[in-house]
């Protein structure tokens, strides 16, 4: 049984901040005393300085914008494609049976390997990264929509039919909302995957983006800049995740949450 959390919200955030600080202090102390070689492990103060210069000097913005744009595009197209194909295969037994082995094969394939091919097809610009991100996002959303449609409550479905819903209305009013709940539960993973697609794509060949910055720094053994890039990416991944949570709570307010009581 999970034990109840006894600390307040504000205190929890404080502890979380302390944990991060402790990590940075430990990192700093270990590299400062040369227990860990600064050449391999970087120096936190210099890392922070790089980040500061990136943001104050404005050098990071175009790169960050490109990476985020790729993420958003990959996420949007991947989700849309996953939703459409998921609905289609879930509602058509023949198509589903036909596609089944191929879907499994494509999902099992390590799709990062496709990045060089996409680079050849779509060039080194935004499009090849979006394509990689789409292949990553698509399967997560697809499987969730498929599952969501398959698990529509038969009673709710029969009820809607008795109330006179046409096939089209069933799709829009029953299957889609039911699948949406599943899609949203996968959204955190798929936003992360879109981000991975964008950065890995950049890392493997590009002229812009945070992944490109990291690649360049690695080429000159500038480990501090590599860490700075990783930290910036992590921060924005957290931000994206936060945005998804906000949208989720708004769109899925019909879903039962924890016991709700109102304070008088």
């Amino acid at each position: 049984m999970a034990r109840e959390l006894k600390v307040g919200r504000g205190r929890l955030v404080l502890y979380q901040a302390l944990l991060a600080s402790a990590f940075f202090v430990a990192w700093w102390a270990l590299t400062e005393t040369k227990v860990l070689a600064p050449f391999f492990f970087g120096e936190p103060l210099k890392v922070v300085k790089v980040i500061w210069e990136w943001f104050s000097g404005g050098k990071i913005y175009p790169h960050l914008a490109i990476t985020l744009w790729e993420t958003v595009l990959a996420f949007a197209f991947g989700s849309l494609l996953g939703l459409i194909v998921g609905l289609w295969l879930a509602l058509s037994p023949l198509a589903s049976a036909l596609a089944d082995p191929y879907i499994k094969a494509l999902n099992a394939m390590p799709r990062v390997i496709l990045a060089p091919i996409f680079a050849v097809w779509f060039g080194l610009g935004v499009l090849s990264k979006v394509a990689l991100g789409v292949t990553l996002v698509f399967f997560i959303v697809f499987f969730n929509v498929y599952q969501g449609v398959k698990e529509v409550s038969p009673v709710v479905l029969a009820n809607a039919r008795m109330l006179g819903a046409s096939r089209r209305q069933l799709l829009r009013q029953i299957y889609l909302p039911s699948a949406t709940a599943w899609v949203f539960s996968s959204l955190h993973t798929s936003v992360g995957m879109a981000f991975v697609g964008a950065v890995v794509g950049e890392y493997l060949g590009s002229a812009k983006g945070v992944g490109y910055l990291i690649l360049q720094a690695e080429g000159t053994f500038d480990i501090n800049t590599v860490f700075a890039g990783i930290l910036v990416l992590t921060a924005f991944a957290l931000l994206l995740d936060f945005a998804v949570t906000r949208i989720e709570t708004r769109l899925l307010k019909w879903r039962p949450g924890q016991a709700e009581t109102e304070r008088l």
Partner: protein
């Protein structure tokens, strides 16, 4: 008079789980409901009550036999019938008002008008002011009221009800039964009410049909309930005639209940 709904010699056979052999849920059953009649079907748990209702609704095609609605053979869904399910059938992503309005919207009524009429119906089942509550925010009894309004708003000629109140506590249940009777007597529909609760069946109905235990269940007794209306389901249980009727039906049903119980224990 043409019955509002008639099942003639209906047999329902399913492939048994695991693929070996067959399971006959309903065997050669004929049931007819007159217009405006309140018919209850009682039987032990596990007999084919729900199967019969699904056949009447057109959700399930019988293996043999036929269904006629107002004299016309039924094909596809029974558009003249409303169905109230035993399990929760509300759309969890629609609020109470949206759920009640759903049927009208499906039939192409404009959204604003549908919602206006849905609001009236919510008030009629005692849920005024609960418009924007989602099903998970309502109690079991309230959800049943929403389901009742959802069905009645379409003004169906036949009401098919599958143990609609079986999940409710006794007090809420009697309230709901009285409300159902009140709504029904204001606008007499044909009702097929499925229940395993004999007391409920007698208190509500004009006629009670007892089914045998499954497999292959069939009617084994039919009783006209000549209790005066309007009735109060709590008070009517004390009437001497009610006790007589209860005894008569129970005599027929008892052996079947024991049989059904023995089968389930196997």
């Amino acid at each position: 008079m043409t019955p509002a709904l008639a099942l003639s010699n209906v047999t329902c056979t399913f492939a048994a789980r695991g693929g070996a052999g067959r399971y006959t849920a309903v065997h050669d059953t004929s049931i007819a409901v007159a217009p405006g009649e309140f018919l209850s079907i009682v039987g032990p748990t596990g007999c084919g009550k729900s199967t019969l209702l699904n056949v009447a609704a057109g959700l399930l095609e019988p293996s043999a036999g036929s269904v006629t609605v107002a004299g016309v053979p039924l094909s596809g869904l029974n558009a003249r019938a409303g169905y109230m399910f035993q399990a929760d059938a509300l759309m969890p992503w629609r609020d109470a008002l949206g759920n009640v309005a759903a049927g009208l919207e499906f039939h192409g009524v404009k959204r604003a008008e549908a919602r206006e009429r849905a609001r009236e119906w919510l008030a009629r089942v005692g849920l005024a002011g609960f418009d924007d509550r989602y099903p998970h925010q309502l109690s079991g009894g309230m959800r049943k009221r929403v389901a009742l309004a959802q069905m009645l708003i379409l003004d169906p000629e036949i009401l098919l009800m599958d143990e609609p109140f079986s999940a409710l506590d006794v007090q809420t249940r009697q309230l709901m039964e009285n409300e159902l009777l009140e709504l029904w007597s204001a606008n007499r529909k044909s009702v097929v009410f499925i229940t395993h609760d004999l007391e409920e069946a007698i208190a509500l109905s004009d006629r009670v049909i007892a089914l045998s235990a499954g497999p292959g269940c069939r009617p084994i007794g039919e009783f006209a309930i000549d209790l005066p209306r309007p009735r109060d389901v709590a008070e009517i249980r004390l009437a001497p005639r009610y006790v007589e009727l209860h005894e008569a039906v129970w005599r027929v049903l008892r052996d079947e209940v024991l049989k059904g119980y023995a089968q389930q224990r196997k």
